[in-house]
Symmetry: C2
Subunit: 196 residues, 2 copies
Amino acid sequence: MPKLEFWFEFASTYSYVAAEEIEGKARSAGVELVWRPFLLGPIFAEQGWRDSPFNLYSAKGAYMWRDVERLCQRKGIAWRRPSVFPRNGLLAARIATALDRAEKLPDFVRSVYRANFSLDLDISEPSVLKEILCNLSLDEEAIFMRANDDSVKRLLRARTDEAKSRGVFGAPSFFAKEELFWGSDRLEQALEAPRD
Amino acid sequence: MPKLEFWFEFASTYSYVAAEEIEGKARSAGVELVWRPFLLGPIFAEQGWRDSPFNLYSAKGAYMWRDVERLCQRKGIAWRRPSVFPRNGLLAARIATALDRAEKLPDFVRSVYRANFSLDLDISEPSVLKEILCNLSLDEEAIFMRANDDSVKRLLRARTDEAKSRGVFGAPSFFAKEELFWGSDRLEQALEAPRD
């Protein structure tokens, strides 16, 4: 089965749109997904940005909020503009990294995105993430232990370095083998990309 | 007939993609086009950029070249990566402003884009633009006179100011009334936008 890597950052609005759509579309396309949480912060920092470009460039930011609202409406995705942006997704990304190939990883990812972009909850709060794990019948204490272990922290850092070295500069990003696609608008094209 | 404003910059690769597609799609959608050449330079300069962001941010730039190549291939649009980027589109924009609602404006616009992004010609060169006008059976001397007239220079500056004040931060941009859409990927959505 051909594979597609889905690289996402929990603070990213367009990653939310992609996360809501990707499983259904990958199934239709007969493509296996590899879920890759990573951190945009270190990548943005190297470009000299200490905040989201949507906050640094106000016209671009104003447009993004309207564009995502329209996109979600067209696609039937729940949406509420969060009262804080960007929210720190570090702990959620560590948990997703700890879950790795667990069957419930996609459900966890979607639940975190919905907490941030539909329920306006603070996804940097351990209690919010524990409740999500609990609702998925996952052992939240054991997973928190693993998420805070050095091996998981190192793995998430290594994945972020890997993303950067493969040319990732934003999220969501998709790889069909080494072919990079950026943005939720490129999901279909990424799923159709030749893999030979 | 509902209208769509098409704001484009001659140096912009994605504006080229939109320029190649927009007339056919607007006709199918029953939408009248308003062609609006403008300059991104002054808008980028206010964001602190003295060059194209695709040159300033190298990973983003490398991706753009690959993405546009793929897009053109999928859409059957001629494409050759220009040896100079961005090329100065000021004179071409003044000519397009001078042509305003001339029947041949769309042909002129497409010819300039093809010169830049398919033939790798220097569109800042008067001789290149004169040949384009000549090939369209337009009076190149009269049009150059008008393009260099203060009234046209002022009109182009006013249009660029108008774009900025309406929230434009990149190209191509589309307006369905006051609803802004950014990027060649949003052309379909812009053509479908409600106008009441």
